[in-house]
Structure formats: C-alpha cells, structure tokens
C-alpha cells in the first residue's frame, strides 16, 4: 500500500507542476465570468445559463484533465526509463498500475474540488441560495465517473504506442458516450439486423458516463437524486473502472518492458 501511495503522490505532484490544470481553470473562469457579465434585459437575477456554461466547461475540463494525465503516465515512465527503476524495486506491476490510477484519480478530484468551489461561488453570487446536497452529488458523481476514463486511458497506453493518439481516441470515445450513449439503444431498435444486435451489444458494453451528468438537476434546481441511487451510480463507476484496470493489469503483466 505504501508503494501505491508513494506512486500516487508523485502523480499528484506532477499535476500540480504542470500548467494544464491552471490553463483549464483560468479558461473556465474567464468564459464563465464573461458570460455572467452579459446584460440580459437589465435583469441581474438571470443565472441558469451561467451555471450551465460553467458546468459544461467543468465537464469538458474534467475529461481533458483525466485523459491527458492518465495517457502520458506509462509512455513518460518508459521514455525516461524510470519505469525500469521503479519495477526493479519491490514494486509489482499491479502496484505500479494502481498507484498511477490512484494518483490520476486523486489529482482529478483535487482539480474538481477547485472547479466546483468556483461554480458554487458563481451560483451563490447570483442565486443567493445554496444547494449543498445537489452540488455534493454532482461533484462526487463527476469524480467517480472520471475513474472510468482514467482507467481506459491507462489501458489505452498499453495498446497505442503514442500518448497523443491514446489521449485523442479515449477523449473522442468519452465525449461520444457522454453525448450519445443514452440514445444508442433507441437507434439500435430502429435498425435492421445485424446492425441492431451489434449496436445493442455496444450499448451494453460501453461505460455509461452520461448517467453521472446531473447538470440539469442542479442548473434547474431539481431535488437531489435519492441517496441509494447515488450510491448505485458510484458502485457502477467503481465496478467499471475496476474491471478496466483488471484487464489493463493483465495486459501489462504479459507485456515486455522494452
């Protein structure tokens, strides 16, 4: 466990040193504040569009941060040859992988915390009300959801040689699922065989990242989801990420280091 935590800590420190997260945060803040400064028929109480813009940017930033951070872990260690040093020590491959995953996930969690604090400040400044339960659910669901792209990107770095191609393909996949995932089965039902069966299989196989998107609930101030359902979603994300990591570990175990 100490080895896993030590590797995770290194990843966390690496994220703090890099500029990605700061650039994304500044962009999110800037665009949100500019949108919020717009004069909407002299009415300063209009807030939901600002919340939507801010949350959408947080979601996009979350994906970018998670995938790019995870996708460069293994190639960077291989290129700098620190991978051999690490694995020469009493660190097993699964510990290495778990440490990298945990580090990326905690790094994303830290970044999300800052992003959601900013969102809360923006919302409170315009709305004059706090929806702590809703915001907590949104942030926690988002954080758990990011475990899946991180696991996928770690797995992808064993399949694709270059970090850039891995990051691009994982991002395209994640955005595709986020925007269209829920509709695949509907589309499949209207198709002839064998496209129907293939698309249905794809629908059940993909990680349903869109489930975790509760932006509409907090933008329009709907009541929070029942806590048992919330817990079920966290379990779904943990299971999917765990399975993906297990497959990645199997691939990593059989892969020669050179």
């Amino acid at each position: 466990m100490t080895a896993i935590l030590a590797i995770a800590q290194l990843v966390l420190l690496e994220l703090l040193r890099r500029k990605d997260v700061y650039v994304l945060f500044v962009l999110t803040g800037l665009i949100t504040l500019v949108a919020g400064a717009a004069n909407i028929f002299e009415d300063a109480r209009v807030v939901r569009y600002v919340k939507e813009i801010c949350l959408t940017l947080i979601w996009v930033s979350g994906f970018v941060l998670a995938v790019t951070t995870a996708a460069r872990q293994l190639p960077a260690e291989r290129e700098s040859r620190t991978l051999f040093t690490l694995l020469a020590k009493p660190v097993s491959r699964w510990q290495f992988l778990a440490g990298k995953f945990l580090g990326c996930w905690l790094a994303c969690g830290t970044a999300l915390l800052v992003f959601y604090l900013f969102f809360g400040l923006v919302a409170v400044s315009r709305e004059r009300s706090v929806d702590l339960a809703g915001w907590f659910q949104a942030a926690s669901l988002h954080w758990f959801m990011l475990a899946v792209p991180i696991a996928l990107a770690l797995g992808g770095s064993l399949v694709w040689a270059a970090a850039s191609s891995n990051a691009t393909l994982t991002l395209v996949g994640c955005f595709g699922v986020w925007l269209l995932g829920r509709h695949l089965h509907k589309v499949a039902l209207g198709l002839p065989e064998p496209a129907n069966t293939l698309l249905t299989l794809l629908y059940f196989a993909i990680p349903h990242l869109e489930i975790f998107d509760v932006r509409d609930l907090i933008i329009h101030r709907w009541p929070p989801v029942p806590w048992t359902i919330w817990l079920g979603a966290l379990f779904y994300a943990a299971t999917y990420a765990g399975l993906t990591l297990a497959v990645t570990w199997q691939l990593f175990r059989r892969r020669p280091l050179h």
Binding site: F41, D43, K186, D216, I229
Partner: protein, 317 residues
Amino acid sequence: MVRAVIPILYLASFALVTSLEPWFQSWQGNRAQSADLLAVLLGDARRAFANHFFIKADAYFHSGYYPSIFDNRTAFQTPHMAADADAKEDKNTGDEDDFLGPPRDWIDAFGRRFKPATHTHLDQGGPQTHAHGDGKPHTHGPAPKEIELGGGADVREILPWLRASAALDPQMVEIYTTTAYWLRQRLGKVTEAEAFLRDGLRANPDSHEILFELGRIADEHRKDPTRARNLWELALAKWQKFERPKQEPDTFSLLQIASHLALLAERESRWGECLHYLELWKAASPKPEEIQKRITEVRQKIPAANHAKPQALNPKP
C-alpha cells in the same frame, strides 16, 4: 519564354481584379461588408445555431425536461413558450408528459433517475411546484391573472437564449414576439419588451407579427387605443400584402389581428369597423359559427347604439 509569361500573367490577374472587385463589393453574399462579427464568422450556420438556442430556451422553460432528437417530439413540435405566448400556432399533439416512453432496459431506467422527469413550466413555478405532476390536466394558453407578475418569475431564465437566438438570426420573427410576451406579461418589463420589438421591426420592417405585438403593448400597457389600432391596421395591411398571396397563408396571425381590431372597435362603439373585422375574424377562425353568433349580437346592438348616441353625446340645448 518564362520571362514573357510572368508579366502576361500579372496583367491578366490585374484585369481580372478590376473586373471582379466591383462585382464582389456589390454582391449580397459578401461577408466583408457586414459589420456583424457573428455573420462573418458563422455565415448561414448562424441560423441553425439560432434555432438551437430558441429550442434551448424552450428546454429551460421546461427546466430541462425536454425531448432530444431521438425521442418522440410530437408534443413538442411547437415550442411551448412560443405557443403560450401566442407567438406561434400550437401544433402539438401527443403526450407531453411521457415522451420517453417506458424504459427500454435497466441502464435506461437507472439513467432516468439522474435527469428531470416531470413536465413543468417555469411560469407556473417550475420544479419547485411540480405543477403538472399532480395528475391535473394541462392546457396551454394565456396564464391566469393571479400568477401574472407574481409567481413564475423564474421564466426570466429563458431570456439569455432568446437574446442569443435573436443576435444570431435577426430575421426569426417569433423570437421577438415570444420574448416580448414574457418580458411584458410576466416580468413587467414593458419598456424592454417594446425596445426589443423595435429592434425586431428594424430587422423585419414588414413583419405583421411584430406590429401586432407592438399594438398589444400600446393597448394593454400604454392604454393608447388609437396607437394600437394604427399598429394593428398596419399589421393587417402587411398581412394582406405579404401573406394573402401565399399558398398557405398564416391564418393564425390574421385571426389574432382581426379579433383584436374587432374587439377594440366594439369597445369604442365603431360598429361598422367592428362588423368588418368580425367578418375577417370569421373567415380565419376554425370555429366560424361562434363568430357568426357574435356578429349577430353586434348587429342587434347597432340600432340601440344609434338610438342612444344623442344621449351619450349630451348635446347642449
């Protein structure tokens, strides 16, 4: 040889420029002439974005409970915020409370718990009241007086998308009429509504819809019937000039204009005018027999009104 070709090519291109430049400057599709940055950047794509934002405003009107392009949209063919504002004829059919249908699988059923699941309208309180979740029948139309200017002020949340939509496509007339309705009727912002309509009229000088809406402001808020009548008469003239020749004219607008002119004339005891507009109203109405009853009533009033006229005028001896 090459030395000779280069000057010839230069000369040919110069001649071409002198011919093309005046044509390009006068070409209507020349984006360089436009002072509008959005028009230059997006071109005709801005119309698609404008329509998207208009629909987005309607999605906000429903607090996010809205069908996607993959769902059954029969109950959402006309945006409800526009139908409620009488800015568009309501062509919706089907069940607006159940456009998703039954869940197709466990992922679908589970995923629905994370999305708005009740049909509500912002002007009736939105998610805070669940106005439609109590099983009561739901109708679209003018709001009851008691909630005007009071409850449902959250309807202001649709305004940013409407404003963005108008900026992208100033020729989309229903944006102006819808926005003006919500501004004046529910948010009490009559001046802003009128100014926005004036912007719309500058972009669409022949729009009978905008003139009609301006007339409503003059009549209902400014209490200026003369101005309202002038605006509605102009709206009617525009309708007759531009809509009547069409194969499928916008009879919904004619109905609105004629009915308001008839009611105004009746209020001012201008019986001849009233009968004329009632006939127009009857021609455009889906229920002409009801208007015919009204015409009969007005005809009965005319002799009595003529008889009462000298008394009403109170002539000096």
